[in-house]
């Protein structure tokens, strides 16, 4: 049994909060540079240049590149032979978020209830999804999720007869409807299968895959490519000012489902695509 001291988890979470909010992942920057090369609209090219410049300034000065420093979402892989010494994982993650958001000068955007709307003051609670795995591994993946693009998410329970074509249509319609509000060029997270809530969780998890890395299943990878083409043909463009680069990549995650079901969830991420991970 491997033991991980509580303080190590708190420290790692703190560092992830600051890293994710101030440094765009290299895989994402590479897609952004490619989009700048391909963009045909002058307004679109101007927007993409500013996004890249903003990313440099933020990294150099260690400041958040977007003021909406979002929900702190964590995907945690916990090995079966791991024991946390001196604390419970969820509580330790909250402690790390509290430190990261305060020490990193990050905005606290979480309110304790949608009804009374009082800020919790420290950006907690974090949103945590656990995945048990065999062995001694412990992996933390953080996704910083802004509300502008999260608000544009959608879920639809398709009938099996609507099939893959129905799925593609719904995804493109969701992006058309979101238009400039999702802050394109977007990353498109898609979850298919499972019951209702599983599809939504998979759509969010899909956003943590390194930008542009295809699904290992060749059929799904082909659908991802087709969807990227269709989305970029909508004309929405960077910042929604019109152009040929509306999405940087489409990531689909799939799960077994019911003979009567075809759930499709779409979770969009803005161009400030913030994810970072670490293994302890």
């Amino acid at each position: 049994m491997r033991e991980i001291p509580a303080g190590k988890i708190v420290e790692a979470v703190r560092d992830l909060c600051i890293e994710a909010n101030t440094e765009l992942p290299e895989s994402h920057l590479a897609l952004m540079r490619r989009a700048l090369e391909r963009e045909e609209s002058p307004h679109g090219r101007e927007v993409l240049s500013r996004i890249l410049e903003n990313a440099e300034v933020a990294k150099d000065r260690c400041i958040a590149f977007c003021q909406d420093t979002g929900y702190a979402v964590f995907f945690v892989e916990v090995g079966s032979d791991v024991r946390i010494e001196g604390g419970e994982i969820g509580e330790l993650i909250d402690r790390g978020v509290r430190r990261g958001y305060s020490e990193g000068y990050l905005r606290k955007s979480i309110i304790r209830s949608p009804v009374d709307r009082v800020n919790t003051g420290d950006n907690t609670p974090a949103i945590v999804y656990y995945e048990p795995v065999f062995g001694e591994g412990f992996k933390l993946t953080m996704l910083v999720k802004g509300a502008g693009c999260d608000n544009m998410s959608a879920l639809k329970m398709l009938t099996p007869a609507e099939g893959v074509e129905g799925m593609k249509k719904f995804i493109v319609e969701t992006i058309e409807k979101a238009g400039p509000n999702a802050s394109p060029p977007v990353t498109v997270g898609v979850g298919i299968g499972g019951p209702f809530e599983k599809a939504a969780m998979l759509a969010k998890k899909a956003l943590t895959r390194p930008s542009g890395e295809p699904n290992p299943d060749p059929e799904l990878a082909g659908i991802e490519r087709d969807l990227l083409d269709e989305i970029n043909a909508t004309g929405i463009g960077p910042a929604g000012y019109g152009g040929t680069q509306t999405a940087l990549c489409v990531h689909i995650e799939s799960f077994p489902t019911h003979i009567a079901a075809f759930p499709v969830a779409v979770n969009l991420d803005c161009h400030s695509h913030r994810t970072a991970s670490t293994e302890l």
């Binding site: 590149f65 977007c66 003021q67 990050l106 905005r107 990227l228 269709e230 909508t234 463009g237 019109g242």
Partner: protein, 192 residues
Amino acid sequence: MVDEIRLEAPLTRKGNERLKTGDVVLLSGILYTARDAAHARIKEAIENGDDLPFDPEGQIVYFTGPAPARPGHPLGPAGPTTASRMDPYSPLLIERGLKGMVGKGLRSQPVRNAMAEHGCVYFGAVEGTAALLADRVKEAEVVAYRDLGAEAIRKLLVEDFPVIVVNDLHGGDLYLEGRERWRRDAPVGEGS
């Protein structure tokens, strides 16, 4: 690559008339920050007949809730938030003389009608470029609703703050026109 115009706030209807959808504008002068919760309070103040936190005549409102400032900086990262959430409130300020709004995303028809009637322009700032935009803010002070934290109303002094005209006074809408212009019927085959 795109026309660039320098503008000094406060704005006037006459000055706004020469702006066209797609113009890149560098704003200098005063911007007032206000977003969801601040707008709800302004509405309440109007309904109760109380004084407004600032006189809207000729002013520009910037829909943003900045991140905390590092020591030595007037303001933390501050990019625009989704403007449509302010749609239920914006006409109240436009009717009272507001001449500019800075945000991101589409506006409702009632807001666009009020803008055309009273000579107010809607500018887009590039969302997510919060570090760059905060660089153009020279001074910042909270002038109302301090208890709202990031959502408090701040008076900003800006210099060459880069925005793009989205809705002009001539019925133009950059989002709709831009999308129409670049829409393709067939997929372009870039994904492969």
